[in-house]
């Protein structure tokens, strides 16, 4: 899609927003698929069907672009915060439903995978992963009131990272082609144990 034809249909502001969002979607996909270095202004612009100069015009330097497009949608953080409200004995399943839904939705899947993929070479990405684990998951483990909330948060976070890589990056069967409902069932007991179970062997 070209920005000018879109602008013709929807007026200048609508066209700009559509172009901005097309660039953001392309950037997220490139960061998730290729990592920080190999996602270039040129590859992102080509995927969005725009001129590389327009990417710079809208988003500035590459680390600013990364930060702008890798923000987790507010409703995901809100859903996280609400998890502690339900019954404690089924919180693992509710977390599994939220995680699998986020991984199945292209927007949030690109954000999760893009942060992980870029974390090894880009300090901002590593900081975002740490922040999600310790703030969002940590908020849940603290609300649940068990011992060692930070260790529990990292246990849950590392299980999410591992399953995201196994399913979408390394593509290990049978996890890679499991139905979402079945993946929820598979993850729920481990999440429940990490959130509320005894931590010592």
């Amino acid at each position: 899609m070209s920005s000018s034809s879109t602008a013709g249909r929807t007026g200048r502001r609508g066209g700009e927003n559509t172009t901005r969002e097309a660039i953001a979607a392309a950037a997220r996909a490139q960061f998730a698929e290729h990592g920080f270095e190999r996602a270039t202004f040129r590859s992102i612009a080509a995927a969005a069907g725009v001129d590389p100069a327009l990417v710079v015009h809208f988003y500035g330097a590459k680390d600013e672009l990364f930060r702008a497009v890798m923000d987790m949608p507010a409703e995901v953080s809100a859903a996280f915060a609400a998890l502690a409200d339900g019954p404690r004995e089924t919180v693992g399943r509710r977390l599994a439903e939220l995680v699998v839904a986020a991984l199945e939705r292209p927007l949030t899947r690109s954000i999760v995978i893009g942060r992980i993929r870029c974390a090894s070479s880009h300090a901002d990405a590593a900081a975002l992963v740490r922040e999600t684990v310790l703030r969002d998951v940590g908020q849940l483990t603290r609300a649940l009131g068990g011992d060692r909330p930070d260790e529990r948060a990292v246990l849950v976070g590392s299980q999410v990272v591992g399953v995201a890589l196994a399913r979408y990056v390394v593509c290990v069967e049978p996890i890679a082609s499991l139905e979402p409902e079945r993946l929820v069932e598979l993850l729920a007991p481990g999440f429940q144990l990490a959130l509320t179970g005894p931590l010592d062997a």
Copy 2:
């Protein structure tokens, strides 16, 4: 260390082996730290203190070098195979001890992290990760005789991948600086659940 000074001390064959191993160690570390593309003959040679031509001379093309240095030591596979022999109710703890020991040892840590880091852009690395999960971990889950051995193997494998990234790549506290013994305790219950527990929520 230069190969000629080593050769002078230990004789030609000993010197060659020392140089080969220095190159292998440098290559593993570069693959683990920078991923497949950014680990170059030049960066590997510089880290090993040799001429880039010597890396090519000993190992050939980069994918051949990767395959040669990322082989898991035979004793690790043997230790994996032996895990099913002990009591079933403590197999999670024995697996956690084996995994943490492998991650604490520089040689095997570089192999595990290097395979994971390179899996997103290098098909051979992804194949090695899948092979480890489905053959080595799968051999254990099949020996334990529970239902859905392949799903259990991927659950365990993804927990290992997640904790390796959290501890050594993204460096999320408190996991990053946890004592090895404490990390074993933290991982054992989740491994036990994935290996022998009920899989459905």
